[in-house]
Symmetry: C2
Subunit: 345 residues, 2 copies
Amino acid sequence: MSIVNPISLSAPYLVFIGDIESPTYAKTGLGLVQWRKELVAGQLRFPGNRLDLGVPDLSVEKAFEEGVRSLIIGVAPVGGTIGQHWEVELIKAASLGMDIVSGLHSRLESIPGLAEAAALSGATLIDIRIPSASIPIANGKKRTGYRVLMVGTDCAVGKKYTALALTESLQKASINATFRATGQTGIMIAGTGIPIDAVVADFVAGAAEMISVNNDAEHWDVIEGQGSLFHPAYAGVSLGLLHGSQPDAIVVCHDATRQHIDSCPEFPIPSIRNCIDFNLQCARLTNPAVKCIGISVNTSGLAPEEHKNYLQALEKDIGLPCVDSVIDGCDAIAKNIVQMFCSHD
Amino acid sequence: MSIVNPISLSAPYLVFIGDIESPTYAKTGLGLVQWRKELVAGQLRFPGNRLDLGVPDLSVEKAFEEGVRSLIIGVAPVGGTIGQHWEVELIKAASLGMDIVSGLHSRLESIPGLAEAAALSGATLIDIRIPSASIPIANGKKRTGYRVLMVGTDCAVGKKYTALALTESLQKASINATFRATGQTGIMIAGTGIPIDAVVADFVAGAAEMISVNNDAEHWDVIEGQGSLFHPAYAGVSLGLLHGSQPDAIVVCHDATRQHIDSCPEFPIPSIRNCIDFNLQCARLTNPAVKCIGISVNTSGLAPEEHKNYLQALEKDIGLPCVDSVIDGCDAIAKNIVQMFCSHD
């Protein structure tokens, strides 16, 4: 079955960094190189910029000669707008037929001359933040294949990273697995996906169904989560994604030192046990057999010597594999998936 | 404190019916007359149309003479588009300075000449389906005043009707109460509100906070619900609305003879007890003191002689006032609100 997805990026990529020197603002470019280095032909830095993604420097012209098919804006400056001094390079790339890909708030078509350049060459302008208008209402029908969804005790606790690491670990364990993106950086890394938080409310579960369609019986979709059922602003998004994903398994993501819900000081972080229980309770509406298969904790706020003790204590308490996916990877969680779902003895 | 709302209708109204003869397609017009007769100056029917809202027939010119300030399209034909043969009347009304109000899918500005006519006269074109772009992210902060939210075992089980009837019953009991609309027909009846299911997912809870701002300590907002936590497509919308509303009280709405969730034959209707418990569990995130204060059942599918027995049995089982709000009104639920929240003895 073909997967209908509204966003589809053409590789290889030229990653545009321009004059942005802060790694924080270049997360997308760094993520692309970390997870999809084979698709990145090079980086476009303005003279004097010391930020280095570790891929060859290419001009637009050189990238064109090397067969680059998309220029991806790999930076998100404060305010989320496209720098005016970037426009010449973007128009040049579009003129040469490269698709221009942006996850910024300001729309690509607002750049004077860019749409015309793209129209003449046949290039496409792709604003990752704009979801397709053709997302259906969810129907809740059971789909073939397996699904594992990342959920969280809060926003920004490593759900995307964990999904990417778990996809790699499953593939290493000879499981057919695909990362499914629901956010902008994830979509750039996957080359496809739907920005779930930008979808009109009625269509969130339908978008999740569209992201993860019927597949081979033994195939795993590893779905990037969004928000948290415990976040007073975003729980609805998380619930729609949970229902539409129909996960067979969930991984709970957590930050070891987070004090309260992101931007909401009155709201405490739930316990991991509560987070497991409530996500399973809600997920059962569309998949009564759902299980929690592991915990992924961002321990970067702990002293290095505490990391191991923290995870061991948690593992003893919860009874599931607990990892810091950045430090430990997700092999332990992948192994648990194999044990719980894939053994046919 | 002033209430900032993106949609605000100016009364009195001329309700446009045109050539639509089916009461099913004229629900909005019928609802307007039922709940806001004092704001409706008249109806505009095309010659020969036998559907009658029970208000005076007015031409656009006559309505203008009588001081009508808005023409409201009170019908929703199949397809949700504006009939081409309606356009002359709409343009005439806009030319005379009347706001044009529509809840249809097709946009008012797509009618040739209508935007120009409105611009010249200073009239406003109001598409109820388009939410404001200025809705904030929810902050979860506790607000002053009381709130009661309608929730449901499914979609389309009488949440809007119950909210309107409960508002009337509270006002009769000398409680200061305001109906807060979250859907298109509700917005037309209230003259203000936000179409919650058309809001981008990240902003649903923020929209609910915006609909029901700080108010007098003894004031009640009676908030129209949307969807159901048990609907596989819409539960996320319901959860965002539940969290943003921070209800002190919920009323569970139910259809006595509904067999399965709307459009989803694989999904059973939850028991009323489960629906109460799960809504309270979820609502506690933003209001730990939330209580269920009554049940409103659409018993129209039962034989007339069964209505009373059904509600009595349910009341005995649940221990809360149970009404069919169309038959019985909501006085019993309003009385329970007074007993549970307003007695200062």
